[in-house]
Symmetry: C2
Subunit: 326 residues, 2 copies
């Protein structure tokens, strides 16, 4: 079992790598090779057979070099994030669209080769106007270049799967929460930071009303989705290989209530409300909740509620401790 992970230096890429190494096998076959690639060279865990490569997927030579080794499973996570893809038109298309096209093109040029291809798509393929709860047959009408590039990738993967050129699936990941690490400039950053910072005793800024509703999964759930997608039989998906995933439907108020239950009022007091009309407007166009019936029937599982999302973060990032409550 040879596995290729693009975007392996990213947060999900690193967690997926660690989970695969811990598991030791995929599709009941021992992992004999792990190729990790990103724009900056990833770190290959000690004792794991494989390679860690720095490569730019928008470089035409990169994809054939990766695919010539004929990995059995490809996790294609590499992407320019939403904000940057909007700010830099050409860079976003180069990586998010042409990078995916180049990988798929290299696959179709191999003989007798049909790898499992797990593509990280996004709920950004949907844009307003949207129903409060988005059904599985909602049309993809993105309102960002990032969402457009992901939606185009979904269509490519459905077409090449239908043709038998690869065995692909596109996972529309919920917004990841709690995203570990430092606060960043992403418009969605507050969803994580209003939990992450108070848990360790630091202040956090909330720029939107408590009634703002969104769709979340933990990093742990995201890794679980990716591994499940790599192992399951994809035949039941039929011709449409893109899947909206389970998540937790929560308002900002629900997030804060869960934080209070788990870490107490001292944590909640660290959240400072600073309304920001620009962020509120961006967020208003985002999906609020999904009815991901297809994914649930196919065995994809997220956390049951925001409390479980916070507990996963405490276990995975804080060694089981809650510093603000110490």
């Amino acid at each position: 079992m040879h596995i290729l992970i693009t975007g392996a230096s990213g947060m999900i890429g690193r967690k997926l790598t660690a989970a695969l190494v811990a598991k030791g096998s995929l599709q009941d076959q021992p992992i004999t090779g792990l190729t990790l690639v990103d724009i900056t060279a990833p770190v290959l865990p000690d004792g794991v057979p494989g390679a860690a490569l720095a490569a730019d997927l928008s470089d035409a030579a990169a994809a054939p070099a990766l695919i010539d080794a004929r990995p059995d499973v490809i996790f294609h996570l590499a992407a320019i994030v939403s904000g940057e893809a909007e700010a830099d038109l050409h860079k976003g298309y180069a990586v998010n669209l042409h990078g995916t096209l180049a990988l798929c093109d290299a696959i179709t040029r191999q003989e007798d080769y049909r790898p499992r291809f797990v593509f990280a798509s996004s709920i950004a393929v949907f844009g307003a106007p949207l129903p409060d709860v988005i059904p599985d047959d909602q049309p993809t009408l993105p309102l960002t270049s990032y969402g457009t590039q992901k939606a185009m990738g979904e269509m490519l993967i459905s077409d090449l799967s239908r043709r038998g050129a690869l065995d692909g699936i596109a996972l529309r990941l919920p917004t990841i929460c709690i995203r570990p690490g430092k606060p960043n400039a992403a418009a969605s950053g507050f969803y994580s930071s209003i939990l992450r910072e108070p848990l360790v005793g630091d202040p956090a800024v909330l720029p939107v009303p408590d009634t703002t509703r969104h769709w979340f999964a933990s990093p742990r759930a995201a890794v679980g989705f990716l591994i499940h997608a790599a192992e399951m039989d994809l035949t039941p998906l039929g011709q449409n290989r893109a899947l909206s995933l389970p998540g937790v439907d929560a308002t900002v108020g629900d997030e804060i209530a869960a934080l209070e239950r788990i870490a107490g009022p001292k944590a909640v007091a660290l959240i400072r409300r600073e309304p920001d009309a620009t962020i509120a407007k961006i967020v208003a166009g985002w999906p609020q909740a999904f009815d991901p019936a297809r994914a649930r029937a196919l065995g994809f599982e997220a956390e049951p509620d925001m409390d479980a999302i916070i507990r996963a973060h405490i276990e995975d990032e804080l060694d089981g401790r809650i510093p603000v409550a110490d």
Copy 2:
């Protein structure tokens, strides 16, 4: 007014060129330049200022060379047809997707340039299961590589229009009927040939049941759609620049009844029923009818019925004569 037409050697490209030359202006501005391009050099009508070029849009150098002249309006009709795009995976993606991407990329690299971009999409962006009458918000789930490539082009054009990089519209043309010329190998060919051949006294083969329903517009209506799309204000389209177009919803039986009304029973007797299970299966996955409310509200108009489609063919292709009735 400088106009660029890709795919200008094709049937619609030639008719569009003739219509523009006859009209002499576009958007109320005199046509001062007409650049025609196709894989084989098109014919530039006598006395028209411009150029006729042979170019392969899948060649990376082709698009910048065309766009450097900064045409005001671009009709992007060039495409590998459905059957060939399915038979030759790489050729279909090279022309239908990468050709469109390259044209758009060249446009976005110009400074202070926002051309009108009219893209010939197709009802092949939809695939079974479909409702009997397809609404404007039907999700695009193509079942062919051709449909996939067109659907990806639609998304690109909506995104670049939203960003102000071009002012684009994607027209999902109905099946063109009566397509002039010789019978060809397309699965849809019989829709035209059961009318075209009998009108001139030649036999035609009908491979599907009379109850088979589909969505049609004449070549004349298609040219009208393209010119209307080049002249209208596109602002009312909002973020979704792809449009299903008006057409005639007709069964094969309706076609035959219209033929009998116009050309008599002698014409109908030339249709020979030879059921073909393969063609019937392909056709069963195609759209039957649309409710193109958005396009109608925006002033797009097709023929009222199959009789009008046949009459348009007699006027435009047969000099007003009906040879079988002579």
